[in-house]
């Protein structure tokens, strides 16, 4: 299950672009640095591939455990 650390996000959009399931989207809330940050639109569809986490330049996405999305 994807865990997004909003305070680290800079809204580059790489996670949204590379998600193979296209279930990430940039939200309308800003973090404390003024950046919009992503959220999962369909947590059940996440396949825990970790491409979003791997591509995130800031390490703002982690996948603590597999399979419990």
């Amino acid at each position: 299950m994807v865990e997004i650390h909003a305070y680290l996000c800079k809204n580059c959009g790489y996670c949204v672009k590379f998600c193979p399931k296209q279930i990430l989207e940039i939200g309308t809330q800003r973090n404390r640095h003024g950046h919009f940050y992503p959220h999962l639109t369909d947590a059940g569809a996440c396949i825990s591939c970790a491409i979003c986490a791997s591509m995130c330049p800031e390490g703002a996405i982690e996948l603590p455990e597999k399979g419990d999305a």
Binding site: C12, G59, P64, E65
Partner: protein
């Protein structure tokens, strides 16, 4: 077990890099590779001048910040006096391919047993986007406003190709960080370079193609596309020298 965990070698705070800058991704990959090898407490980052110097705040492990272009020279001294440590120099293209060209070529030629991580974004990012030795033909920068003209400024320098012609280096490779495949390959390449260093094999050189959304004057996603259509055809990713595979 975690599928993906943020490396502890990078600070638990946003990096100093601009949004979408692949420098921070490069730093994260280096941290991941070192942690996967269990060398987190043993690693020493020799930080050069330029945007790479933002690692001073971002890197949580040991580091030494050195003079412009002289990271391979400093790393030589560090590694020779502390041979048990994992030493790597983290340099940008202005630092490595311009002011530090003598140091990198000499260190590579001597086959010093450390790793150089070369982040190539084809511009001087920190000082305002001037032309670097690696700037592509036709690429606009603040000092080549009509695009780089080889008649007056020469051609982009291919550091991997140059270094791979030397006898001493054991592993020379280039990876592009603009796709998940490139990032995975880069992680493996970095891990291999650090492993070879810890085995005492010799000089290893990893070039990572990165971007500069601020000075290329593009959005982060546009820079990834620009890299596909312009950077990668000129700076071709691949392994340029691998003595281990040849043996």
């Amino acid at each position: 077990m975690a599928v993906y965990k943020r490396p502890e070698l990078i600070a638990d705070a946003p990096s100093g890099y601009c949004p979408g800058c692949l420098h921070s991704l490069a730093t994260k990959l280096v941290a991941e590779a070192i942690e996967e090898l269990g060398q987190a407490d043993n690693a020493l980052n020799v930080i050069s001048v330029g945007c790479s110097a933002l690692n001073i705040l971002y890197w949580s492990g040991d580091f030494l910040s050195v003079a412009h272009g002289r990271a391979p020279a400093a790393a030589t001294g560090i590694k020779r006096t502390n041979p048990e440590r994992l030493v790597f120099a983290y340099q940008g293209d202005g630092d490595l391919a311009a002011i530090g060209l003598a140091e990198i070529m000499s260190a590579a030629n001597r086959g010093e047993n450390f790793t150089v991580v070369f982040a190539n974004n084809q511009t001087y990012g920190m000082t305002g986007g001037q032309m670097a030795p690696t700037t592509l033909i036709g690429q606009k920068t603040t000092t080549t406003v009509y695009g780089r003209d080889p008649q007056t400024t020469g051609y982009p320098m291919k550091m991997c190709e140059l270094i791979s012609t030397l006898e001493a280096p054991v592993y020379v490779a280039r990876f592009a960080l603009n796709s998940p495949k490139g990032v995975n390959d880069a992680r493996k390449g970095l891990k291999k370079a650090f492993r070879l260093q810890m085995e005492g094999k010799g000089f290893t050189f990893i070039e990572l193609l990165t971007n500069c959304p601020t000075n290329w004057k593009m959005t982060p996603l546009q820079t990834l596309e620009y890299m596909n259509t312009n950077t990668i055809p000129y700076f071709k990713p691949g392994v340029y020298k691998d003595k281990e595979a040849q043996a």
